[in-house]
Symmetry: C2
Subunit: 248 residues, 2 copies
């Protein structure tokens, strides 16, 4: 089927299945090779890229819908998801399907619920569906042009990640189970957007008492084998309840 | 007009004016007599109280709608507003208007956009409209039974206030222009839900360099007249951009 026919067919199904006027856009973060990545989709015959998204089922809750959308797009279950803001500017999406029939589902006004997701990069297999011709990880420092207001949604998600670094299990969800201290520090540096002092970072992290140091080290590099760490799930969860930073 | 007739009349108007399925609920915080207060509404012939709320106009953005709703309810302009979460549980509101006609606007499924608002208590004059018989400030420690999931929405708003205390101009919007250090400390204690050390609080606050100490003191108490302070708007805004707490 042609893209146009696919979209018109999807429109009919959408009227049956979804609540009108509310869409869901997901900013999926992954961490790989010391770089923060975002999962993006390219629709057929459209130059710009897009955030993975979808709609809310008539009997579905928002978090369920976001999980379903990401499962279809990544193959992964139990993804850590967090809603962070609504985007309701008039005209933000209405013009995108100009040229399609008047009553097309996609041409109504949509208020977008922004979610961010944190995934273990290695657990994700990006899925290219019938209306897209690519689904890829892009480096946060090399994001291509995005459709509609998706760049704003992405920037807001990153801002929320930064603010929530001490309240949400962000490191736990983005890193592999076992990691080195420089890897953890790099993740914090990218999210915070600035370099951190290595000694201070190490001391603070250890003072929180949320990491278990493993007996083995990572072999194979040219340098001294670095120590490996793992989050202590129980103590980490407890620490996050009050926030990791020193309080008042 | 009877309450029933008022609601049916409102339903017809609502179909014309608003987007379906999306409602707005506002948790309005004020600070008075060293107590944190929330503005609540009591609808006629309903025992429980409710958060002030409304709907999104077809050509309106969410923040505009929330401002309009609060203007109608408080008489105040330029209220500090922040969206914080969507509440989308199936059945959260649908049953509330049982007994009314099938097609009543209010009986459709609504996903609620939660806003919190910070107001200067003295600028607000609670408005009792045609369908309510009371609109009052209630102490955060004495909240009556609330309709639907409004208690959850209120609790989530308070949680967000706590997390955002160092990123948003919360003190600036809740306190009168001029205040004492014990008043500021009390506000922080209520929001954080714990007592703070007086000396530490004073030192940290002064170290942020966001307060101007006035030349006059507050007269009239039995004790030594306390010093008065005012936020230095420019320096406060700048400090909030990075967050008030010591960073990494």
């Amino acid at each position: 089927m042609e893209l146009r026919d696919l979209i018109i067919a999807h429109s009919e199904k959408a009227y049956q299945q979804y609540l009108p006027h509310l869409s869901i856009d997901c900013v999926v973060f992954g961490f790989h090779d010391a770089k923060l990545k975002v999962l993006l989709v390219k629709m057929k015959s459209i130059v710009q890229w897009a955030l993975p998204g979808g709609y809310l089922g008539k009997q579905e809750e928002l978090e369920e819908a976001a999980s379903r959308i990401l499962k279809e797009r990544t193959g992964a279950d139990n993804i850590y998801l967090q809603q962070f803001r609504l985007f309701s500017k008039c005209g933000r999406s209405e013009g995108f399907f100009n040229g399609f029939p008047e009553g097309l589902w996609h041409r109504q006004r949509f208020v977008a619920a922004g979610f961010y997701a944190l995934v273990n990069y290695t657990h994700v297999e990006p899925v290219v569906d019938a209306v897209s011709d690519a689904c890829e990880w892009k480096d946060i420092n090399g994001i291509p042009d995005l459709i509609m207001d998706h760049r704003t949604i992405l920037d807001e998600a990153l801002l929320n990640l930064r603010r929530e670094l001490n309240y949400k299990p962000i490191g736990y969800n983005l890193l592999p189970e076992v990691f080195t201290m420089p890897e953890l520090q790099k993740l914090y540096e990218i999210i915070l957007g600035r370099q951190l002092n290595r000694g201070n970072f190490y001391r603070k992290m250890m003072a929180y008492d949320i990491l278990d140091k493993l007996d083995e080290t990572r072999k194979g590099g040219a340098h001294k084998a670095p120590n490996l760490y793992r989050f202590n799930c129980e103590r980490y969860t407890k620490a996050l309840q009050d926030g990791l930073k020193e309080g008042w």
